[in-house]
Amino acid sequence: MNHDALWLRANIIRAIRSFFWDRGFLEVETPLLVPANAPEEYIDPVMAPPWQLQTSPEICMKRLLCRGHENLFQISRCWRSNERGVRHLSEFTMLEWYRADSDYRNLMADCRQLLQHVAAVCLTGSPVYRYKTRRIDPFAPWSTISVQEAFLRFANHSVWDCLQKGLYEEILTETIEPALADFPSPVMLVDYPAELAALSRLKPGQADLAERFELYVGGLELANGFSELNDPQEQRRRFVEANRLRLQEGRSALPLPERFLDELGYMPPSAGIALGIDRLVMLAVGTDSIDQVVAFTPEQL
């Protein structure tokens, strides 16, 4: 990582902090070493027996919402086992923020303002993001496309068929994401099939869809946000189902975050989102490789 990229990274983190401080968000630090993460089918924690490193700060941050704290943000390290590639590091930096009495639409508005703020403050020469020869203007009107519409429009397939045939990831990464790269401004992919809800609430009156969205900039996945599920029974059912699928694929079952499940019934209707800071720095630097935006890669240690 060169000197300029280190400075840009530091500047972006400072701009993110001031963005949330100026809006009255409380900056929190929650433990990185935890007894349990939210079990997910395809996320493997880095184990630190008898506990594990956090895969995301979501469990602790939602417990703070349950205790009445309303607007929260955190910038922290997260770990996910065996994730290494040109856009992935096993240890990476995540920004998460949560809003009480809100839903995912409030988060979409936050995303737009945050990306505009970071560009205006940190990319003073030309306030655009860059990825693989594309220039993405955060000040131009943003697009919103539902997952169903994206699969039909760009791949001519129903997303439900793709899920059933196990082709979801292939079509998404080989056809949909490249199509999203052609947009001149950021795109929000919204309303995921309920099978992919994870910790999100289902859409009222449409039980086959979840209030989940992902933010894409130049075809690069930058953030994942939800209207948060606050029904402890349903949340437990999804965790148990994730573990059942893990076992079926020969992966180990993961412990459940029991205290989180005990308290979840007290969480107000909330919305929360995780944004990869390393990827935001990639977009600001204009590099295709996450290696260019960290002080050291694991291979350099």
Partner: protein, 187 residues
Amino acid sequence: MYTVADLKKGLKITLDGDPYLVVAFDFVKPGKGQALYRTKMRNMINGTLLDRTYRSGETFEPASLEERTMEYLYKEGTHYTFMDQATYEQVVMEEETLGDAKNFLLENLKVEVMLFGEKPIGVSLPNFVNLRVTETEQWAKGDTSGNDSKPATVETGYVLRVPPFIEEGELIVIDTRNGEYSTRVKG
């Protein structure tokens, strides 16, 4: 045995009975989704390129490749014969398999022969070889045409560009990695 976590550029694996070299690799993992390991591989026997996408849990056998030092003996038609220095065992390779290496093979040259099981699939040459120029035009002193190189044929039949002062019968050093003239052997 390798797992998907071992996949990277340069890894050699066995696939459908053939050795493959991973020439490009991309780890892809859409949000909350399953990880995909996208690879481009080259068949080390016939050179064909193959795109394959793997998922976690899949495993691979390493390509059982062995390099042995051998001496190049002679050529018959399109067959090139090499001899293992230790066992005196001889192997024959097709011109097509040798690729550009054939341009630099002079009898008695020591090379590394790569074997897949018993089958020779290629050779690694020394980075530099000395070859004698058998044919090249005389440099006319005072030539002002501006050409700073001319064609020359060496004893293997290979033709390359050399500086104008090189004469027939001279020994020159060739870089086998790019096939270019490197320097003149003095004396």
